[in-house]
């Protein structure tokens, strides 16, 4: 199983992770259309945290013992048994914000509609998540963890 790890010593704070994440989760998959035309504007699921000189990207860490899964009121937040990823089912989400309350990373946000939450889905369908693939300085890397 793979996980994303942020290396703050390599992060230059450019914010490309946010841009590529937003585009990847847009309808058009095109940066200009995603930022200028799509309404509501698609929401990135990674957040660049900056407190100069420190910066790093934060996205769902797909915790082994995930507090959001245990706390979820509706059953929308689930652990995928085969991949170990924490998967959010927006169809089941009731938008109660309980997962936001318990995520130690602050990695879950309200989506653009303000009615459900949104979080890193590990770019389902891609071999390497967009934030990792497009980080110019190796500050986001994939590591292999034991299942």
């Amino acid at each position: 199983m793979k996980r994303i790890v942020a290396k703050e010593e390599f992060c230059i704070g450019c914010g490309l992770c946010e841009v590529y994440c937003t585009v990847q989760h847009s309808k058009s998959k095109d940066v200009i259309k995603a930022y200028n035309r799509e309404n509501p504007r698609p929401l990135g699921r990674v957040r660049l945290e900056v407190n100069k000189p420190v910066s790093f990207a934060v996205q769902c860490r797909h915790c082994e013992d995930a507090p959001c899964v245990t706390a979820c009121l509706s059953g929308a937040m689930k652990k995928d048994e085969s991949t170990g990823l924490v998967i959010h089912d927006a169809e089941k989400c009731m938008g109660c914000w309980t997962c936001i309350m318990v995520c130690p990373y602050g990695a879950i946000k309200m989506d653009a509609s303000g009615k459900v939450v949104s979080k890193c889905d590990f770019c389902s369908g891609l071999d390497v998540p967009a934030c990792v693939a497009n980080c110019p300085n190796g500050a986001l890397v994939l590591i292999e963890v034991k299942p």
């Binding site: 957040r47 945290e49 900056v50 407190n51 420190v54 910066s55 790093f56 934060v58 507090p67 245990t70 706390a71 979820c72 009121l73 509706s74 059953g75 169809e91 089941k92 009731m94 938008g95 109660c96 914000w97 309980t98 936001i100 309350m101 318990v102 995520c103 130690p104 990373y105 602050g106 990695a107 879950i108 946000k109 309200m110």
Partner: protein, 423 residues
């Protein structure tokens, strides 16, 4: 003879099944559930009333949950007594179910004070699916409702009724709504948006008497408050709160206070008998004492802890505390721990209040450790604050940054970040 018997198939019960199966894939599990339907999210019953959710959306586990976890589910059956010496549960049909390990996860039931006229048609309680269904069935005919109780359940239901076009009066005994989880400023902010949505809020009052309709005494027509004022309505919903359903253990050696007392491993005072969820009084890490905390996330956590321990994997309950996330009337709110200490002495209180943005944030500190978090409208960093609170982190060096707009993991000193997040 089942190795594990679980009474109750809501949050705590099903979480226990999952935990047991992680450790013990083969031994027999029997679950006794009074409700005939699959396990559903009780916090979503307001969404059923408002029309936002149907039952399918409310199912909080896979439809094949029992089959997938190889559980013998005795649904639509009720446990009526326990014999803890001979280790069996008696069901309402007279059957005996023997156990090696028992989990009591019977939950809570609505607290209903004695009110004259409460037997009239149109009076409801509001904690489970059947309540929501019978309420929803009457809504088309109703124009107005009185909700008794201005807590979490009352406010969630009020929003649902407003969405369905009813004129709602909410009656709260305390002098503010949501008084258990908000302070006066936050409560006023919520009251303000509720009033703008057309809700009438009456505080410091309770319902003394439920009146009938002039044309039919047996049907709800209004209420009389303690101050003598009357309010016309077509339905009355009692939504004051829940009390533990601990009747099963009365007359046994299981120790109770208001609920069943459990230790940090969810064990009761009787060997091999566990309890979790709204029926249990478990550890609160803020007060350091056992306390009733009828909250879904804690019930699921407690159920997991019980399940692990029942199956032989030692797991300690980290403790819970009052913690609620609210979505009602367009104001996201998160309230954790002691947000409104009765006696402010010994506490340091940090606040940020920007009424024009409807933003309010408050952190309560004791000896530089966070013991209370209250956030209105800007809630996305709540979990980072909660993590500092759970770990009793001394925040002296960065407390001024806790309420800032860009507070996050990068705000934390790197040594602390490393300790909390990388080790």
């Amino acid at each position: 003879m089942a190795k594990y018997v679980i009474i109750g198939a809501s949050a705590a019960g099903i979480s226990a099944v999952e935990a047991i199966r992680e450790v013990d894939p083969v031994s027999t599990i029997t679950v006794v559930s009074e409700e005939p339907c699959p396990s559903y999210s009780r916090p979503m019953i307001s969404d059923l009333v408002s029309g936002k959710a149907n039952f399918e959306k409310m199912l909080c586990r896979d439809g094949q949950f029992w089959e997938k976890n190889n559980v013998q589910a005795l649904t639509g059956q009720r446990a009526v007594s326990l014999n803890l010496k001979e280790k069996y549960v008696v069901l309402d049909n007279g059957a005996r179910v023997s156990f090696e390990k028992l989990l009591i996860a019977t939950g809570g039931k609505p607290f209903v004070p004695k009110i004259e006229g409460a037997d009239k048609k149109g009076v409801f309680t509001f904690t489970k699916l059947s309540d929501a269904e019978s309420l929803a069935a009457e809504i088309e005919k109703a124009k107005s409702a009185v909700v008794v109780g201005g807590g979490l359940i009352g406010v969630s239901l009020t929003e649902a009724l407003v969405k369905r076009g009813l004129k709602v009066t909410i009656v709260e005994l305390q002098n503010k709504i949501l008084s258990l989880i908000l302070d006066a400023t936050a409560s006023d902010m919520v009251a303000n948006v509720m009033e703008r949505a057309g809700v009438t809020i009456v505080t410091g009052q309770s319902v003394q008497r439920i009146l009938g309709k002039p044309e039919d005494e047996r049907v709800v027509g209004g209420v009389v408050l303690t101050n003598g004022n009357s309010v016309q309505c077509d339905m009355v919903i009692i939504a004051i709160g829940v009390v533990p359903r601990a009747e099963l253990v009365s007359g046994t050696d299981v120790k109770t206070n208001r609920g069943i007392l459990v230790d940090r491993f969810m064990r009761t005072s009787v060997p091999d008998v566990y309890a979790s969820g709204d029926v249990a009084e478990a550890y609160d890490f803020i007060s350091g004492e056992n306390r009733l905390l009828p909250l879904w996330p804690l019930a699921q956590l407690e159920g997991r802890v019980a399940g692990y321990n029942m199956a032989g994997k030692k797991a300690e309950y980290p403790g819970g505390t009052a913690m609620s996330a609210l979505k009602y009337f367009g104001i996201p709110i998160i309230s954790i721990g002691l947000v409104n200490p009765k006696n402010a002495e010994g506490y340091e209180i940090l606040t940020r209040y920007e009424p024009e943005k409807r933003l309010y944030k408050k952190i309560v500190l004791k000896d530089d450790v966070i013991v209370g978090i209250l956030l209105l409208n800007d809630i996305e960093r709540a979990g980072v604050l909660f993590n500092l609170m759970k770990n009793s982190v001394n925040v002296k060096k960065f407390k001024q940054a806790l309420l800032s707009e860009n507070f996050g993991l990068a705000t934390l000193p790197s040594s602390l970040r490393k300790r909390l997040y990388l080790e």
